[in-house]
């Protein structure tokens, strides 16, 4: 088991900032089209973080033209160029699935106060 951990550690990323469910993040994703490479940004609220070793993922949800869009990113994939934490959210649970049923102002996450 230790050898598996060792292999996994080599493939894990330590450069991503810390963020939690409820935070609003910008995920800069490397996209390869043919020979060209460009960066696509996906901004939204972190719905959940699935903890693990190389298998950990996080789900980001945004509303695009009134349609809810969720994307699951592998945490340790090199396809992620960087992650920017836009704001920290004030939430009371770790899985924010209840946001899926909410629209408009109700679906907004209150941001954490600076002095909190």
């Amino acid at each position: 088991m230790d050898i598996i951990r060792k292999i996994e550690r080599e493939h894990m990323r330590v450069d991503l900032p810390k963020f939690r469910p409820g935070d609003t993040v910008k995920v800069h994703l490397r996209i390869i089209e043919g020979e060209k490479e460009r960066i696509q940004v996906f901004q939204g609220a972190v719905l959940r973080i699935k903890r693990g070793t190389t298998t950990s993922t996080f789900t980001v949800r945004k509303t695009s033209d009134g349609v809810g869009v969720e994307r699951i990113f592998p945490f340790h994939t090199p396809a992620i160029e960087r992650v920017e934490v836009v704001s920290e959210g004030k939430v009371r649970r770790s899985r924010l699935y209840y946001l899926r049923g909410l629209k408009g102002k109700a679906a907004k996450i209150k941001t954490k106060n600076q002095w909190d």
Partner: protein, 208 residues
């Protein structure tokens, strides 16, 4: 046949390519396997190498086994396997076979004993469709249906797929890709799954 080594399945994990795609892989602790006996055409009627894996305490082997392993003088091993080779002249008794036989990107075959599933019905064992859950069907939902004809031929053909023991047999997976080789840990990483449970003994061999 082909040269290879014995290993122990440690478990599975996931790593990433530089383009971000995930690679499922199995980690095997393999070798070093000393050659414990060389069989040749003249004496044994066929050419083969016998290799050992997994050291074992002296008291766990019989006197005959200890005597046999003493000839190679490389310690005592729990598992011995034969590898048929075309030419044994390249190898010598007591030589260690390590994971350095393989290189990343190479295709290999992996032989192991699959997980035992016990006595299973035809739906799990042979992917039969079973019978509908309703519309008058009673007591036959997972049955296999008819197994043959009538007075002619008056028998059930051999190899008819029926319920029975599933798993716990030798399975060889061909054309598996070697992802990584780590001689310092005696570890080989293979893309995808490998037969058997964790801690199961598997044999990794070259395709040719």
């Amino acid at each position: 046949m082909s040269i290879g080594i014995l290993g122990r399945k440690l478990g599975m994990t996931r790593i990433y390519n530089s383009d971000g795609t995930a690679v499922p892989c199995t980690v095997l602790a393999a070798g070093p396997c000393p050659i414990t006996q060389i069989k040749n055409q003249e004496k044994d009627g066929y050419a083969a190498l016998q290799i050992g894996f997994d050291t074992v305490e002296e008291r766990k082997l019989s006197k005959a086994e200890r005597g046999h392993l003493a000839k190679a003088d490389k310690g005592l091993y729990r598992h011995l396997r034969e590898l048929r080779v075309d030419d044994v002249s390249d190898y010598e008794l007591g030589q260690d076979l390590t994971v350095e036989l393989f290189f990343p990107g190479e295709k290999v075959k992996v032989t192991g004993t699959s997980k035992g599933k016990g006595f299973q019905g035809v739906m799990k064992r042979w992917n039969f469709a079973g019978a509908p859950d309703s519309h008058g069907h009673e007591k036959v939902h997972r049955s296999g249906g008819s197994i043959g004809y009538r007075t002619r031929p008056g028998k059930i053909f051999k190899n008819k797929k029926m319920a029975g023991h599933m798993g716990n047999r030798t399975v060889t997976m061909m054309h598996l890709e070697v992802v990584d080789v780590r001689p310092e840990d005696n570890v080989i990483v293979i893309r995808g799954a490998v037969p058997g449970p964790r801690n199961g003994i598997v044999m990794v061999r070259k395709l040719k």
